[in-house]
């Protein structure tokens, strides 16, 4: 759905992107991660055909961003990190304008407005002025404006910045719903926990370059076959020494829980049997799930 090839972007005195290449499959939810100033927003603006790369090509839904920027604009929705709303307009008028200016046919504008408002749970506030909304509700309205024309690709730049936990949860639910509808979504953030709930793929940008192995699996609750977490009841004081004596590789300990790296070819059930046989009282034993942070940390040193 999105194909970025050898993209270089120069600001007047600074090269922001150094030959970035990546491909995002249709239906993916890509977490675009990296430290502040890494080039995430610049890459997003290039994908959105708001800025033209100095070198390289970008296609979105098969459309070249430089050859046909307006068609790309029609195919995607983009919410920048700092956005504004028309504070004097009601939510209904804001969405009506967004729909009409995005080319939604007049006959179905009202339907599109209702649907977008329902998706972000603003249906009961349609006649409220945008200027009267809280930060979280403003974010929802901005996203509704961005998706009112049902784009195939949605780009969200730091969408959860400044949101309270409840609003972040609603945002996650919304992104999951949109992804379930088949939308390809790119979400950038430097706070990995934000992206944990919905990302299926991850791309790390560092110093304007793709870091790690390009677009990789995001983690997203996938089982890590090489590690288990064991929680001990009344662990002995020399727990770690006893585990080492058993030939168990302790990766880290948090309170009563220990993350153990399985030896190559070792079965998790066999390890459990060994621990029980050694008179260690275990109250929980589970495979470790890979988090986005695990994926990030795994890619970061490369």
């Amino acid at each position: 759905m999105i194909d970025v090839r050898d993209v270089v972007y120069d600001y007047p005195t600074l090269r922001a992107l150094h030959g970035v290449s990546c491909t995002v499959e249709a239906g993916a939810v890509l977490a675009l991660v990296g430290p502040n100033g890494a080039g995430k927003s610049t890459l997003m603006r290039c994908i959105a055909a708001l800025d033209a790369p100095t070198e390289g090509t970008i296609t979105v839904a098969g459309l070249d961003t430089q050859a046909d920027p307006r068609a790309v604009h029609a195919a995607l929705g983009y919410l920048p990190d700092f956005f504004g709303l028309y504070d004097e307009l009601s939510i209904r008028r804001s969405l009506t304008y967004a729909a009409r200016s995005r080319g939604v046919a007049d006959a179905v504008v009202a339907e599109a407005v209702d649907l977008a408002a329902a998706r972000v749970q603003l249906s009961d506030r349609l006649d409220q002025r945008a200027g009267e909304l809280s930060r979280g509700l403003r974010q929802r309205l901005a996203i509704a404006q961005t998706i009112v024309h049902r784009p195939r690709v949605l780009l969200l730049d730091e969408p959860a910045a400044g949101l309270d936990p409840e609003a972040r949860r609603s945002l996650s639910d919304l992104i999951l719903k949109l992804a379930a509808d088949g939308m390809t979504i790119v979400v950038s953030s430097h706070i990995l926990a934000e992206l944990e709930d919905y990302s299926t793929r991850m791309l790390m940008i560092r110093d304007g370059r793709v870091a790690g192995g390009g677009v990789v699996a995001a983690g997203g609750g996938a089982r890590d076959e090489a590690r288990v977490r064991a929680t001990f009841a009344d662990p002995p004081a020399d727990l770690e020494a006893r585990l080492v004596a058993l030939g168990v590789a302790v990766e880290r300990r948090t309170g009563d829980a220990v993350v153990i790296a399985l030896a190559p070819g070792e079965d998790a059930a066999a390890l459990l049997a060994r621990l029980v046989k050694a008179d260690l009282r275990i109250c929980a034993y589970e495979p470790v799930t890979r988090t986005l942070e695990d994926a990030y940390m795994a890619q970061a040193p490369r």
């Binding site: 005195t13 100095t54 604009h73 504004g84 504070d87 304008y97 200016s101 024309h149």
Partner: protein, 452 residues
């Protein structure tokens, strides 16, 4: 309805605002009528004056501010990217903003136009029709220029890494007009071209001769203003296209330059002959080169892409990336050469001294553009415009002082003044080479030149 126009109507022309505006305008006309009831003629004159004041305040000041703000407010409110992503065509975006943002101002201004028209008709004035039409064209012209200036300001600010502000754009517009007026009316610049005849535009009495046609001044003023309004609209549309990331062959700018050269030449032609008309065209093109050099964003990436396209001979891309000052410079050189060729054939002038001075003028123009580029592509581009103006002022001041001390011979080394043949040309050419060498260093490697 155009969605952008409709949105602006929602914001600007809400019923309550219209009602308040109607009350304010009604009070102005009512008080005027009450204060001038002694005779019908006095009443007509007073109402025409009040109408003109309302028109000026609403159509020219308020409308111009609203038209410029139509883009700058979007930037300030962080809604501009959202608009750039819309499906609206550039023309729909342009007129939707232009007429929509100034919709209430237009409603008020049109009452002034109507009152002026009726008052003039009541007095039996022959310009009862052309004057109201001229007023409408003038308001369109001013508003379109303000929107175009705002779009120029947005592009400049983006290239310089700052946010465009209305005060900055208004200030830039004002300084630009004053500078261009100062250069255009300077004796050295006008030499031989008779540009002062442009003043005919500002008075609508009598007749105007243009390329041999004699036209009533009021009609000429109306047509000229309407034509320039159309060009200003085309310019705003073209800049809006660029903001929406749409590329295309640069047609409008060169076409406008040709129109402008022909327009200026036509005012000079009947009295001074064809070579002078061609020189007048060259001079206004030279002025446009200065304007373009200051107005275009100092975007070294774009310049590098232009240079790369030229090297690769991908001319279509090179044309799209070409700096805006190139077209007027080339046209100025072409028209100057044509003027002297025509003069040689028709034996219109004693060619040689004029030729040296014209060539000197062109050399100094190219030097000045190099100075402008050197400052604007510096490490602190925000101060580039001011630095360029200051340096140019100092250079010409030095020329004036030396001219005062040593006569024209010394001054001709620092300004395109009459002097020994080739003085101004040679000095201007050397200075142009130095200025452009320094500018090229900065464009290629700003950090290195800044460190140096």
């Amino acid at each position: 309805m155009n969605p952008e126009f409709e949105r602006n109507l929602w914001l600007e022309a809400a019923p309550r605002r219209i009602a308040w505006a109607a009350v304010a305008v009604g009070v102005i006309y009512g008080l005027t009528a009450i204060s001038a009831t002694r005779s019908p003629d006095l009443l007509a004159t007073a109402l025409a004056t009040a109408g003109a004041v309302v028109f000026g305040a609403c159509g020219l000041v308020w409308g111009a501010r609203a038209a410029g703000g139509a883009v700058l407010n979007e930037i300030g409110d962080r809604t501009w990217d959202f608009q750039r992503l819309s499906a609206l065509a550039p023309w729909a975006m342009t007129w939707g903003k232009l007429l929509g943002a100034a919709s209430l101002a237009w409603l008020c201004a049109l009452t002034g136009v109507l009152v002026v028209g009726v008052s003039l008709a009541w007095q039996g004035r022959p310009d009862a029709l052309t004057t109201p039409l001229f007023m409408i064209a003038l308001a369109l012209l001013i508003q379109a220029i303000c929107m175009a200036a705002a779009l120029v300001g947005v592009r400049k600010a983006r290239a310089e890494g700052r946010t465009a502000r209305s005060a900055g754009v208004a200030g830039g517009l004002l300084i630009g007009v004053v500078l261009l007026f100062g250069v255009a009316t300077s004796e050295g610049f006008q030499r031989g071209a008779g540009l002062s005849d442009l003043s005919r535009l500002f008075a609508s009495k009598g007749e105007v001769a243009w390329w041999g046609l004699t036209v009533p001044a009021s009609s000429f003023r109306l047509l000229a203003t309407a034509a320039f309004a159309a060009w200003a609209l085309a310019g705003a549309w073209r800049l809006m296209r660029l903001e929406l990331q749409m590329q295309g062959a640069p047609v409008v700018w060169p076409a406008f330059l040709v129109f402008l050269a022909a327009f200026a030449g036509g005012l000079v032609y009947p009295e001074a002959g064809l070579p002078a008309a061609q020189l007048a065209g060259a001079l206004v093109c030279a002025l446009c080169a200065y304007a373009a050099a200051f107005a275009e964003p100092a975007d070294r990436v774009r310049l590098r892409l232009f240079a790369a396209a030229v090297v690769r001979r991908t001319w279509a891309r090179a044309l799209r990336m070409a700096p805006a000052a190139i077209a007027p410079v080339l046209l100025a050189i072409l028209l100057t050469a044509k003027a002297f060729a025509t003069a040689a054939i028709t034996r219109h002038w004693a060619i040689e001294p004029q030729l040296w001075q014209a060539a000197g003028l062109l050399a100094f123009m190219i030097r000045d553009l190099g100075v402008v580029a050197f400052h604007r592509f510096g490490p602190r581009p925000q101060r580039g415009d001011f630095g360029a103006v200051l340096t140019l002022a100092l250079l010409y001041l030095a020329g004036g002082i030396l001219g005062g001390m040593f006569g024209h011979d010394g001054g001709a080394l620092f300004a395109p003044l009459p002097g020994p043949p080739g003085f101004s040309l040679g000095s201007g050419a050397v200075q142009a080479v130095v200025a452009w060498w320094l500018a090229a260093r900065r464009i290629r490697a700003p950090e290195a030149s800044a460190a140096a």
